[in-house]
Subunit: 362 residues, 4 copies
């Protein structure tokens, strides 16, 4: 086991995922504090009531928040609440719901179908979405019915939708009579990047429901669904119960989420991981052969790298995921250090330069 | 909020459920200890590997254990793994899967149907099960196919199956070519009652898969599925992922379950709650009008009470659930005190005697 | 193969089911007539348009009718259209949806649960229904949500709800905010029995949607769903498409259903089968030991019979189903003859008298 | 209504679909002949037994055949029988299951996901399939599990897989441990084209299960699932019952399918529609601006046409579907006449020449 990853010989430096990291100590301490007295089960407790209030304050409207165990549960159950089981949900080809949740949306939605919409850097393009909707007329029952749109903020390639981009998608969505979901597994990173309010980035821009991620950003055992359209919430509450996503000792989930947003902890952590990613991206500017797949706007970097360079990095003790033979993903956590960032930049500089020299010599 | 429930005027005494209670401090402390270094996500960490080993030792065979968020998830996903979606799952009318999980089994099982089998005290009777199976012949496709049997140990009425009873059911189940599931939401209470080994009560008695409960017995945020028939486990692992039941920071779940069974903590807690229930039941023996629905063999008491007596108890500050107009449920927790038990007995004695006198005077 | 069942030695007389019978020749001839020219697929043809009009006339309101392949499809898809997937559908224990459709409702409804309500002769009792609804309060999410009620007309035990009984159930259903479905697999027999209009027995009595059976009453290859609440129909149209229940050459289904109701063919056939059942029931009045499970109000008789008598009937060449060791079902078809009825009565008289004598002699 | 489509002024000529056409008279006459005597329901009749034998002879092995109402039902239920509900089914982007069945496969499969594989003319390429399978490793639970491959023969763009192409796909499929389904909605057209035996094109080439289409090729009210891998069939039988796809008067479905293959009727009809399509394609060779999307190997032509030409054709009385602003589909039926074919060629010649002239003049 790694005891704190530092840039020293023989020590691993972990860029594999934001879920390999620790939880913020404040969140676990909140669990201890919540462990007193008895409390009604399944969310009928004082902590969960406080959570509703705390998130309503945060989002500047009376939201409904439902803690759930995982982001997959948040996404699939949120989307299932938006449409009929013969509905079509539009998303990016790169969306986590499309690539990495074993078709949970299709399962919880009773046959809901995901349909990929073109766009840059893991985004949906508003025009491409409009074209996709225009291609199905109301009478074409055999096509299923367009039901919802899901956008991932920050995207699965490390970019961030601007407010204007979200609103353009929202307008197409509304015009088509659909509902709009935001997969906010890295919502904190997007808010930190844009410097806007959570309200601006969600319901004020047309979001009906969101997956509010905490785990990837220093959380421990829960994420949440936040509902902005109140007509969705009551049915979702029953569905969550049936889905095995309502803890009987809910206070221990609610306490985590309260601690997560208390004193801007969530934004502080997102700013930290964003800053590390930006530091690495900055360092890459000096390496002419380093090619990024998308702008680095959150805490992830997708780098096109020769496999020999990837081998060399791993030999150095860097851990990261190979997304293909020539694409490596590096993810920064709230507790990734500047020294770790600089170590990665230095290693990339060294190996890419060697590679370029070797190629030139061929 | 209640600050420790004691038998004093103006203070509530909570018999509502075993999920209104605190978690064992050891379990939350284990979370803090697990919060160091980085670790591979989705169960690829050292804590989860240790958990597999720890439970294989506990059950004296190489089991597969999957932590999940709730008992509903454990039951529904375990049962869905046992049969085709047109399968029939036999259970007690009183079973939690039948009365209290919003038909999660039907949902996760893609249409699996629950069918109630008669029996005493929340149990399935082996003969009644045999009759039910005999009533469907292989050619009767319109009936669906018998797929599995689920027994709840301890039962939903507070009784405990003997080893002989479990084995009799297992034999009927095997003869019918079905699989056998145990809903062990209160498995600890049953093991504590019987004094047998976990292995004896499960796979050595014919159980293929179980829901291993922790939450109701001092746990915090997870229960588990334990698989004894290895052919079931691989498919279940994918299904759990799709079901949103695989935490990315799984170490925080695994650490809870390791702490739960460490140093017999789980059995100590179950013995404690069982002992309180037995103490109350013992006190009731002196009250001739007190009628129990089932023998008190675990940590629950189901008492037939006039509604006036229930009103009076609530006025005294006792919290409990009314299961019907004349049935009250009292649940003891690992931290329910003897003083709280004695206070309940005293109150019941007082109110039932008053009631009897009033009736006689009518 | 049977070449026309007549009451002659060595010839089988078939009382097994109303689906073992022939189709009315008029219905098959309609197929031949519809086989001209080209026609838009999936219901966009002239025959299907005519069918909508024909059934709107028949029911005295603008209904939507969807031909489907089977009664199971009609029931399951109608019920799935009425509620959320976590809904509870109340029905009789004896209902076909509960006993004979391999839980199609649970499947098409994505986890809908059937819940049995007490009543006589295969009926739901309005008071028992009210009690069942009262037992679930809105806050009890773990119970699922009451969604719909399904009554079978005529019932699965051969009785017929009066208009007053249907309306009493409808009132309880409405009060609970639920929808009301009628499984009309033998709707024609019920209308024929009551002498009321189809409108009186359905939407004027509070039915929202029905399964309109044809197959059991001289139809061939289709039944239908008839929708009285227009808000249900559009979604159902997509669901039927997805369910593989929309024939591309729909004209051949629509033509069958038009022929079925043309010139009162459907009611003539139902009157014929009802009359045969009544004739048999009349003959049984002279046999003191003949015990019927329910009043004979449609085309079925459920007779308690010693198994020796069942054996003797089969030896005589009568075909029927044994529902248990002591219960036999006899179903009359539109083309069952009076001679066949009289043959059955004579055989029952003979064997029951012999049995009584034998018992007396013991 | 059209009274027989002939190439005369003021008369529509229908190229919309092969499901707008009539049924072969022999098939409807078979229904009349089957309407005698009583017969056990749900497939326990003599006609269904004969059907099993007839298709076993046709396919030169002991197959199981299940008549179903529609091609959507055949495809979705066949695919649902092949894999777990978290399975991935690989198909062409253009496949009917992917574009035109409202995600029936996702629904009946309980969340099965379709994944498009590249290829020409509506086909799957064997190499592209191998790449797709290689992209998911066994440990990547979050991706779901590859379960089956579905190829459409003839394809949805009017091409026909050669035997070699089918076998190459089958080999990749087997190597991956998957099952292979053939959507044979136009199987007759493919067999007619290739001149091979039904056995060669299916199980001898590695097909496990197929959707055997009849409706598009002169059938009336049923298609079928044919099972070559016997281990699949028993479970499918229950699933079909639950899916509402088992007619109680099954003889009327079985009789249609027997008539369909009797005396090579099916192949005669397919040869006829293929020949008409070939005649049109031949005529197009003289029109330099006519561009076909795929080779015309069955009964469909996909023509890239300016929308002005499509308008002109419609004004002439030709009916066809616009698949996009510049793509028209023309489908030939078994009873499309040579005169109708020549009329279409002539009109295309006229309008495309005029268009070319007009463009040149711009």
């Amino acid at each position: 086991m790694v005891d704190g990853a530092v840039a020293m010989p023989g020590v691993m430096i972990d860029y594999r995922s934001d879920n390999t990291g620790r939880a913020a100590p404040q969140i676990l301490e909140a669990l201890i504090r919540a462990n007193q007295g008895t409390a009604l089960g399944y969310g009928g407790d004082a902590w969960t009531a406080a959570l509703q209030q705390r998130f309503s304050d945060l989002f500047e409207m009376s939201v409904r928040i439902f803690p759930v165990a995982t982001g997959t549960a948040a996404n699939a159950l949120a989307l299932a609440s938006l449409g009929p089981s013969w509905g079509i949900v539009y998303c990016s080809e790169a969306a986590h719901i499309n690539t990495a949740e074993a078709n949970a949306t299709g399962f919880f939605g009773g046959g809901i179908k995901l349909s990929a919409v073109d766009g840059e850097h893991g985004k949906i393009g508003a025009d491409a979405l409009a074209d996709a909707l225009a291609a199905i007329s109301p009478g074409q029952l055999h096509r299923g019915r367009p039901a919802a749109v899901s956008l991932t903020q920050a995207t699965d390639l490390g970019a961030v939708y601007t407010l204007g981009e979200v609103r353009a998608i929202a307008e197409v969505t509304r015009r088509g009579g659909l509902k709009l979901h935001m997969d906010g597994a890295r919502f904190a990173n997007a808010v930190a990047r844009l410097g806007c309010s959570p309200a601006d980035l969600t319901w004020r821009s047309g979001i009906d429901i969101m997956s509010f991620g905490a785990t990837k950003n220093g959380g421990a055992l829960c994420d949440a669904i936040v509902v902005f359209s109140p007509d969705i919430a009551d049915a979702l509450a029953v569905q969550l119960r049936r889905a095995g996503q309502v803890w009987s000792k809910m206070r221990f989930a609610s306490a985590q989420l309260i601690a997560y947003v208390e004193n801007s902890l969530w934004l502080d952590m997102a700013r930290a991981s964003n800053a590390i990613a930006a530091r690495i991206a900055g360092g890459l500017r000096d390496i002419s052969s380093a090619r990024l797949l998308a702008p680095v706007e959150a805490n992830e970097l997708f780098l096109e790298l020769p496999s020999t360079v990837m081998d060399a990095l791993e030999a150095d003790g860097f851990q990261f995921y190979r997304r293909s033979k020539s694409l490596a993903r590096f993810v920064c956590r709230f507790d990734t250090t500047e020294a770790e960032a600089d170590a990665l930049v230095a290693a990339l500089h060294r190996h890419l330069t060697a590679e370029t020299t070797a190629r030139a010599a061929e």
